[in-house]
Structure formats: structure tokens, C-alpha cells
């Protein structure tokens, strides 16, 4: 089934959840996630997806309900954005600590205040350390594919961890794009039936979510950290098997025209497509510019990124969120600490772009790169970053 179909990215994501044959969906409406859950409701109402659709009264309950459903052994899905993710925050950490393979789409949207329904990454960056596997996708096809990949990876007994698929709100969620879908049989081959490591079963009673005194808490956290780090092998396997099935190849870090590049841009999510157009233009002008795209955010692909960034003299990290008062913004902080030991250490520049739906144009990337080409300060003063397009 390799026909390309034009459809809204949100609809494609919902179709992927249907193809994955989810058992329980619990969701609360929030812009720009709504089209995903609306379409899932229709699929359930029409009998195209045999699932329990739980219309919860809040995102906190959405996450709590999928925790309960997943613990019962059901394939569970939810989607949210912004304030909804913030409201779930408490339960995100519990879901990963309980090793429940829930899949969630986050249609990334700015956090209030002021209220903004538009895109940036402040929502997910505030929940960065929740212990979930986290992907960032760049276009509709990636969003569809990674919804399936997420179920495959999350439920693998070697992993048994929840997964967030981040897709940029509106910029991606509401776009009509060409998608190559899969059929039920192909998906069934790719995603085996969910066989939970533990589940709530009266015949084999288990106690889930007990409390730990100081003599156990550290060990539990260590095992959780190891589980997330070790999930990388299965994440790669998930991509490899997907490539065998569809021919579409993915990896943790993607590079674009990085050969011979002296200056590299680093981006996540939908920014990548615009940035690659900017790279084309600048290459035409003879500038040695390349692009590195981070698809896997957690577990952080340190080795892949070191390889991809190696050799560049200057690196411009794009952040779509501010870490208020911090030494650097979320992605830049991570990249800077990763590159600290490299010899010679590259100059790192940090640009914060596209906050609260502010458009990021090809010209913006060109300006960012050209400015970085002239600059040479490293390490710069704390909090030294460019807030692109801000009126001062």
C-alpha cells in the first residue's frame, strides 16, 4: 500500500493509532491537539477502531486513566499540548517510573502566560526530565510513522517505557501533507500484540506503585535510568524494522549537507524543513553551511550527535523555548555540555526562535548563520543568546 494520500497530519496520526489497534484512548480537548482526538472519536463511533474512548474531565485524568489502562494490560494512547501537558506533569513521572508503555502525541504549543495557542517547545521542555522516550518529528510522514514506531518501541519487553511523539502544533498538526499509509496487515507484522511484563491480574496479583523508603528510592531511580538509556538499542531496532517494512529510513540524528561544512545549524521538529531550504540557498552562495537535525531527544543520542557535529568550527543551536535565568537554553545547554571535551572545542551560538507561533523564515536562518560566521566568542557570557525577531 504505497499510495500517497493528501491528508491533515492530525488525521494521519489518528489513523496510525487506529492501525496500531489501540485498546484505550483517554483524552481531553486542547488546541492544537483536537483534530487527532476528534478523528479517533469518529473512528471509534463508526466501529472502525474497537477501543474504549474515555472522555475524561481533564488532562490529569487523561494521563491517570491511561496509566490505569496500561497497568491492566491495554494498549493505551493519549494526546495533548501545552497546559494539558503541564497538568499531566505529575503523572508523567509516575507513568515512566511504573514502566508503563503509553504512547502520547504532544502537538507542541507555548505555555501560558500570556495565553498562546501557537507553537513552540516550552511545553515539552518543562517536562523534559519525565523519563519518557521522546521523539521530535519534522513532517507529516514522520508523524504518522513515529506514532507506529512509538508503540513498537514502548511495548518491547526490553524497554517497557512510555513514549512522547512531539509534533509542532499548527505548523505540522494542521497542515495537509502527502502521506504514505500502511495497511492493517503490515502494521500487525510490525507491532506484535502487547504482552505486558506485569499487569493487574487477579490470578497473579501484583502490587504496583508502592512507596519506597530512602534505602530503596535510589536503586529504583537507577534502574529507571538504565532502562531509558538501554532503550536505545530497541529504538534503533524499531527504525531498522520499519525501514525493512516501508523503505523509510530514520535515525536519531539526521544530517543535511554537512560534508565540508564549517558551520552547522542544529534544529528539532518542523524547523528542519525551513532550515534545509536556507542551507540550500547559502550553499549556492558558497557558504560552508550544513544542518543537523535531532530526531531523538530522550534518550539523548550523545554519540550520534558528536559524530554529526564533529569537525565543525561553529555550531548554531536553535531552541524553541527559553530556560529562564539558566546558563543556556534547553537544547543549547545539552549540546554545550556534550561538546565540552571535544578538541578543538567548537564555538557554540544559541538562537531562540519561533516562540508562541512567531514565524521562522528562511531569511532568519540565513541571518543567524551570517552573524555566527562573524562572531567568535566562546564561551560567551551566561545567558548570551539571540532572541530572533524580538522587537526591543
Amino acid at each position: 500500500m504505497s499510495k500517497r494520500i493528501g491528508m491533515e497530519v492530525s488525521i494521519a496520526v489518528a489513523e496510525a493509532v487506529k492501525l496500531a489497534n489501540a485498546d484505550v484512548i483517554a483524552a481531553y480537548p486542547i488546541t492544537p491537539q483536537t483534530h487527532i482526538v476528534e478523528h479517533l472519536s469518529e473512528l471509534v463511533a463508526d466501529g472502525d477502531l474497537d477501543a474504549e474512548y474515555v472522555c475524561v474531565e481533564s488532562e490529569h485524568s487523561a494521563m491517570s486513566a491511561v496509566v490505569g489502562a496500561s497497568a491492566a494490560g491495554a494498549r493505551s494512547y493519549t494526546a495533548t499540548a501545552s497546559q494539558g501537558l503541564a497538568l499531566m506533569h505529575e503523572i508523567l513521572f509516575i507513568a515512566s517510573s511504573m514502566r508503563l508503555p503509553i504512547v502520547m502525541t504532544v502537538a507542541n504549543r507555548a505555555l501560558s502566560g500570556p495565553l498562546s495557542i501557537w507553537n513552540d517547545h516550552s511545553d515539552v521542555m518543562a517536562s523534559r526530565d519525565c523519563g519518557w522516550i521522546q521523539y521530535f518529528v519534522e513532517n507529516g510522514q514522520e508523524a504518522f510513522d513515529h506514532t507506529l514506531i512509538a508503540f513498537r518501541v514502548a511495548e518491547d519487553p526490553e524497554v517497557s517505557l512510555p513514549v512522547i511523539v512531539n509534533l509542532d502544533g499548527f505548523i505540522l498538526s494542521h497542515m495537509i501533507e502527502p502521506h504514505v499509509l500502511l495497511d492493517d496487515e503490515e502494521v500487525a507484522r510490525y507491532i506484535p500484540p502487547f504482552r505486558p511484563v506485569n499487569r493487574l491480574d487477579p490470578d497473579n496479583p501484583v502490587t504496583m506503585g508502592d512507596f519506597a523508603m530512602p534505602e530503596f528510592y535510589t536503586e529504583v531511580k537507577k534502574s529507571q535510568e538504565m532502562a531509558l538509556r538501554n532503550s536505545r538499542a530497541t529504538i534503533d531496532k524499531g527504525w531498522q524494522e520499519f525501514a525493512e517494512l516501508t523503505g523509510r529510513k530514520y535515525q536519531a540524528v539526521e544530517t543535511y549537507k554537512t560534508e565540508g561544512a564549517e558551520i552547522l545549524m542544529l534544529s528539532m521538529g518542523a524547523l528542519g524543513e525551513t532550515a534545509s531550504v536556507a542551507v540550500d540557498r547559502m550553499r549556492d552562495q558558497g557558504l560552508p553551511v550544513g544542518l543537523v537535525k535531532l530526531r531523538l531527544w530522550r534518550p539523548f543520542p550523545s554519540d550520534d550527535l558528536l559524530k554529526a557535529l564533529g569537525g565543525a568550527k561553529k555550531i548554531v543551536v536553535m531552541d524553541r523555548a527559553i530556560s529562564f535565568g539558566a546558563a543556556a537554553n534547553p537544547v543549547a545547554a545539552e549540546v554545550t555540555s556534550l561538546l565540552y571535551d571535544t578538541e578543538p572545542r567548537p564555538c557554540i551560538f544559541n538562537s531562540v526562535v519561533g516562540l508562541g507561533g512567531r514565524d521562522v523564515r528562511v531569511e532568519d536562518f540565513e541571518a543567524i548563520v551570517k552573524k555566527a560566521m562573524q562572531g567568535h566568542s566562546y564561551p560567551g557570557p551566561v545567558g548570551d543568546y539571540d532572541l530572533i525577531g524580538v522587537r526591543e
Binding site: 485498546d23 484505550v24 483517554a26 474497537d50 477501543a51 474504549e52 474515555v54 472522555c55 475524561v56 474531565e57 481533564s58 490529569h60 485524568s61 487523561a62 491517570s64 486513566a65 491511561v66 496509566v67 490505569g68 489502562a69 496500561s70 497497568a71 491492566a72 494490560g73 491495554a74 493505551s76 505529575e90 503523572i91 509516575i94 511504573m98 500484540p193 493487574l200 491480574d201 487477579p202 497473579n204 496479583p205 501484583v206 502490587t207 504496583m208 506503585g209 508502592d210 512507596f211 519506597a212 523508603m213 530503596f216 529504583v220
Partner: protein, 334 residues
């Protein structure tokens, strides 16, 4: 004694699903209730437990007091967790992934987790009509964190955040009436119960499990630590709460009210409150105020029993039919 050993197992499951060795305080009413509840429910159940006394005393890693599947997630979300478990089991059984065996789902929470922080999740879950039983073990304050007041703390009670002082009589507000709020959700079954009346409690648990749809049980859990009462008075305090009308034992089955224990004349407030240090600072006029309000509430309850009785329904039907006939006649004339 010999006869009792033969007789009691016939009434009750002799097996324990909530086992001894848990870490509750001496004289804890909540654990007596839990033991009775579990005997009534049996082993074909999945429990979701809110954070609180019952959770913390029963699940210190790597130990557990539970011989049934049990999950604890957080404080305010037990109804949502239970609704997810119920939805999951329903989907898996329908899709043939699990055999159909009608596994019960039960949520257990304290009064803070029910009346305060988990109120929204509870309202949402019962409104959605999940087939589960929600049990509130009401010890009338946040006992696990050190006896802070909740909206279920009775008027005048001393807690660590409603201390009596020159400007205060203790708890300033009247106890939130959770059973009635659940009745207002028009769910199939709502009942109050007390471990001081084990067979009443056990019957109500069975009924709650049996009805199709959400059921709510509000169980009084006497707390010697928080109530400043003697451990050996727990069962007696539960009885006095019912006999004084402070905690009436009643049930609302498909909208029909029944008072399960109507002592006729309610016992004086002094007998019940006098056994508890948390009311020690109250003056006779305070007791009078409490007694007056308790009696009024009990009368309201009796009225609801009358209003929802079969005879009353029948008489309302009869009076309704007459004007109806007249109306249709008038209309046909036009």
C-alpha cells in the same frame, strides 16, 4: 466460642485479602473496614488506591499487605485510574485478549482524596458511568500528613490546621455531604456504612459490586490518633456516630432512600463527642448547635425516605394522571 467458630465462616469468607502485618495505628477503624470490605469483595477484583493512610500502611516496598492486584498512582486521581483500569479490562475482554470473567474494579481513597483534591476526578469518573465501586474511607481529616482539616472534618473539630484559639472554635465549616453529592450524580447506588456494623457494611459492598455502573460507598473510619480517642473505643464510636445521627447509615439504591439504622430517638451529642479529645474545647452551646443541625439533617433524610418510597411514588402517579386526562380533553376541544 466453639459455636461461633462454626457459624461465622458461613457468613464471611474466612480468607484474608488485606492481610495482617500492615502498619496502621492501634485501634485504626479504617483497616477494620478494609478487612471487611475485602472479605465481601473476594479475590476477583482490581484495587486502585489513592495516596493516604490506607496506601502508606499497606505498601512499603518490598512488602505488601494485598493479596489482590493493587495499584497506587497519586493522591487526586484514583477515580481516573480506576476508570482506566475498568476501560482497559472492558476493551481487552471485548476484543478477546482476556477471558470474560467480570473482574471488579474498586477505588479506595480517604476523605481528603475524595472530598478535596480528588473531587473532580471522582465526579468525572462516575458521570462517565464506569462500572466500578468507589470507597471513601472517611477519617475526617488528613491523618496521614498529621491531622490537617479537610472539607470532611466535622464542625468544631480540632485539627492541626483548624486549632481552637481565642478567635476560633476549631473547624469553622460543616462537614461536606459527599454521599448526597454522589446521589446528585444519579448513579445506581450510594451508601454510607461503618465497620461497627460489619454485616451491614458487607451487604452494601456486595450490592455496590453487583449494580451495573458506578457505586459509591462512604465509610466512617474512626481514627484514634486524629480524633484523640482511646483505641479500644473505635467500634463503640462508630456505633455512637450512627445512633446520634452524626453519621446516619443509609443507602440510595436506584434513587430509593432507605435508612438502615433509625434509632428513633437520636442519642445525645455529648455521648459521641465526649469520647473524642478533638471536641474537648467545645462549650455546651456549641454542642447544642451541633445537635440541632444533626437532628434537622436526620429529619431531611427521613423525608427523603418517604419521598422515594413506593407508596409515595404510587400516590404521585395517581395524582398526576388526573390532570393529564383533563389537559388532553381540553386540548381536543380546541
Amino acid at each position: 466460642m466453639e459455636n461461633l467458630n462454626i457459624y461465622v465462616p458461613r457468613l464471611l469468607d474466612s480468607r484474608e485479602y488485606f492481610t495482617p502485618g500492615q502498619r496502621a495505628c492501634q485501634g485504626c477503624g479504617e483497616t477494620v473496614a478494609l478487612r471487611q470490605i475485602m472479605k465481601s469483595v473476594g479475590r476477583n477484583v482490581i484495587l486502585a488506591n489513592a495516596t493516604g493512610c490506607s496506601e502508606i500502611i499497606s505498601s512499603p516496598f518490598p512488602q505488601t499487605a494485598w493479596l489482590v492486584p493493587w495499584i497506587h498512582v497519586a493522591f487526586e486521581n484514583v477515580a481516573a485510574v480506576a476508570s482506566g483500569v475498568e476501560a482497559g479490562m472492558k476493551a481487552l475482554e471485548r476484543k478477546g485478549a482476556l477471558p470474560k470473567r467480570n473482574v471488579k474494579v474498586m477505588a479506595i481513597a480517604g476523605d481528603g482524596a475524595t472530598a478535596d483534591i480528588g473531587f473532580q476526578a471522582l465526579s468525572g469518573a462516575v458521570e462517565r458511568g464506569h462500572n466500578f465501586v468507589y470507597v471513601c474511607l472517611d477519617n475526617e481529616a488528613y491523618m496521614n500528613t498529621g491531622i490537617q482539616r479537610s472539607s470532611s472534618t466535622p464542625f468544631g473539630a480540632m485539627t492541626t490546621t483548624s486549632p481552637p484559639g481565642r478567635m476560633s472554635k476549631g473547624q469553622k465549616t460543616w462537614k461536606k455531604n459527599l454521599p448526597e453529592i454522589m446521589v446528585a450524580h444519579e448513579i445506581p447506588y450510594v451508601a454510607t456504612a461503618s465497620p461497627s456494623y460489619p454485616f451491614d457494611l458487607i451487604r452494601k459492598v456486595k450490592r455496590a459490586v453487583e449494580v451495573d455502573g458506578p457505586a459509591y460507598l462512604h465509610v466512617l473510619a474512626v481514627c484514634p490518633t486524629g480524633w484523640r480517642s482511646a483505641g479500644e473505643e473505635t467500634i463503640r464510636l462508630g456505633r455512637l456516630a450512627a445512633e446520634s445521627g452524626v453519621f446516619p447509615l443509609y443507602e440510595v439504591d436506584q434513587g430509593k432512600y432507605t435508612i438502615n439504622l433509625d434509632p428513633g430517638e437520636l442519642k445525645p451529642m455529648k455521648e459521641y463527642l465526649g469520647l473524642q479529645g478533638r471536641f474537648r474545647h467545645l462549650k455546651p452551646e456549641d454542642l447544642e448547635y451541633i445537635e440541632d443541625r444533626v437532628h434537622t439533617n436526620f429529619e431531611k433524610l427521613r423525608a427523603k425516605v418517604r419521598m422515594t418510597s413506593e407508596e409515595d411514588k404510587a400516590s404521585r402517579k395517581a395524582t398526576k394522571q388526573k390532570p393529564k386526562k383533563g389537559k388532553t380533553a381540553a386540548r381536543s376541544k380546541k
